[in-house]
């Protein structure tokens, strides 16, 4: 089970309908990303890139005194899938503990996107999650 209590594996597209792949929701997150920007004095931050497609995402995390995320922001450029996934992640990661953040999976991201993600696009979908989890792994502050 994942942090959200959902058990999801990345799925190959069952249907390749164009409207399903590029739902309004994804395009909205792509065109108007949520929590876009940097956090001065972030508890942890990390930039990850997919050099093969030129996508990049930098994640900033700020923890509150209760040990839960108070703010998560990102900056990035790239395809709709990578940027929408980053935007969704910043919404979903609020109020989570380090342990819960570490337990987030590719399946969670695919579920938030709500679209079929094939193996070749999974790296786009999980770029922000990789940045977030590597940010935490590279930081041993409690």
């Amino acid at each position: 089970m994942t942090a959200n209590g959902r058990k999801k594996k990345p799925v190959a597209p069952a249907t390749r309908d164009i409207d399903i792949i590029y739902q309004e929701n994804i395009l909205d997150h792509y065109r108007r990303p949520r929590n876009f920007g940097r956090i001065a004095g972030a508890s942890a931050s990390r930039k990850e890139a997919n050099f093969s497609c030129g996508d990049d995402v930098e994640i900033f995390i700020l923890f509150g005194t209760d040990g839960r995320t108070k703010e998560v922001k990102f900056e990035g450029r790239g395809c709709a899938v990578s940027q929408a996934a980053a935007s969704l992640l910043t919404e979903q990661a609020i109020g989570l503990t380090r342990k819960q953040l570490a337990a987030l999976s590719a399946g969670d991201v695919v579920a938030w996107l709500g679209i079929p993600i094939g193996p070749s696009r999974l790296r786009c979908a999980t770029l922000a999650l990789k940045a977030l989890q590597n940010a935490l792994a590279g930081d041993d502050k409690v």
């Binding site: 164009i18 792949i21 590029y22």
Partner: protein, 409 residues
């Protein structure tokens, strides 16, 4: 060699992947990455596996002798395709291996003060080996740039190629832009200064007539799977005296005549460069692919690709918000249409096209320095072949328009 026009309906029937009935829409526009395979090639390889499978050059029994004859007959037909002699054709895994073989073996004679000249369009397989070996051997790598029309800047080439130049290596046709490099002119420039001249023919051999004597190249490397052959096989042509002068690239069985614990004697050409059991079925399949393209006629294939490219360029260029990369219409170019639509990422574009059954490639096309030069992360590329028809192009254009609607370009 045949000339005239190819019968597109008949050609499409030759390819099981294109002829399959009752399948979902399949518009294959990714032949620059890998072409489809005609039934004749499949049959040739199947014959080896079903009827006479055995190792080559060793067994004294009939199956091995048949396999050896079929493999060497494949080499002969591959040689004929580019007007070479069979002993000048080394069978490799593909253009990448051929180009690495050349970089590794030629660079043993290079050092500080020497220069290798490439073009800025090179595929990573012809750039990275030289770049990395330059760090080991101390020679310098120089790059010929492009004109604003995205053709090779021959004036720059004339200035770059000089007495320090020991090797000039260039692609014949750009996989990312479709630019045709004036390889004959480069050959003359290289030879004037005593430099070795290499052509990467991955996008030209099997697409248009390529004659090593006419080009006067010292080496020509290409891949089988981009010219209707199987994957995992390619060829490297080298002028006989050039191949003789090179040290072996890989050591092992088959490339050797005599071995003692202290030293070894290399086998004759071309086996000196084919260590280990070769890709036997691949060599037989590539021989069949060479027969196939010669059967269609290289001039006829080139004419068909030119016609389809013209059609595609006209249709795609007319889409509002589109930017097409590569030489302007009317220039000789390969069957590649590379484009960007507004700020739509090439991976998003490729995904949208895939949802409509259109197979293209989105990304940097293994030419990251070129993409940087163009100021883009990548492009979406439709690439054409002898079996491409107008329906493929029309489907592409309709789907790009749909993408424009979705992304509100």
């Amino acid at each position: 060699m045949k000339s005239g026009k190819i019968d597109i309906k008949k050609v499409r029937r030759d390819f099981p992947m294109l002829a399959a009935k009752g399948r979902k829409p399949f518009f294959y526009l990714d032949s620059a990455a890998s072409s489809q395979t005609p039934a004749s090639v499949l049959k040739a390889m199947d014959g080896f596996y079903r009827k006479y499978r055995a190792n080559v050059h060793r067994g004294m029994y009939p199956a091995s002798e048949t396999a050896t004859a079929a493999y060497e007959d494949g080499r002969r037909r591959i040689a004929e395709l580019v007007n070479a002699a069979p002993d000048e054709i080394v069978l490799t895994r593909g253009a990448t291996e051929g180009l690495n073989l050349l970089a590794y073996t030629l660079s043993t004679r290079l050092g500080p003060g020497d220069e290798v000249v490439l073009t800025v369009m090179e595929h990573h397989s012809n750039l990275v080996p030289w770049q990395q070996l330059a760090k080991v051997r101390g020679f310098a790598v120089k790059f010929i740039g492009l004109t604003p029309e995205m053709t090779l800047d021959l004036e720059a080439a004339k200035k770059l190629i000089g007495p320090k130049t020991k090797v000039v290596s260039a692609m014949h046709i750009s996989n990312a832009l479709g630019t045709v490099v004036p390889v004959k002119e480069l050959a003359a420039l290289a030879h004037r200064h005593g430099a070795v001249f290499i052509v990467d023919g991955a996008q030209s051999v099997g697409h248009r007539p390529v004659d090593v004597k006419d080009l006067d190249c010292d080496f020509l490397a290409w891949s089988g799977h981009k010219m209707f052959g199987p994957t995992g096989i390619g060829a490297l042509y080298g002028k006989r005296e050039m191949l003789r002068g090179l040290p072996p690239f890989l050591y092992g069985g088959d490339m050797i005549l005599e071995v003692s614990l202290e030293d070894s004697v290399w086998n004759d050409l071309p086996w000196k460069f084919e260590a280990g059991t070769p890709n036997i079925a691949g060599g037989i399949g590539l021989g069949a692919a060479a027969d196939y393209v010669r059967g269609l006629g290289l001039e006829a294939i080139a004419a068909h690709e030119r016609e389809m490219t013209r059609y595609a360029l006209a249709k795609v260029s007319a889409i509002p918000g589109i930017r097409v990369f590569g030489p302007p219409a009317g220039t000789d170019r390969g069957g590649v249409v590379s484009f960007a639509l507004g700020d739509v990422h090439p991976h998003d574009m490729s995904t949208i096209l895939a949802s409509q059954g259109i197979c293209v490639r989105g990304g940097h096309h293994c030419a990251m320095p070129l993409m940087r030069l163009l100021g883009v992360n990548g492009t979406t590329r439709a690439s054409l072949s002898a079996y491409t028809d107008k329906a493929d192009i029309d489907a592409l254009v309709a789907a790009i328009k749909q993408a424009a609607k979705i992304f509100k370009v």
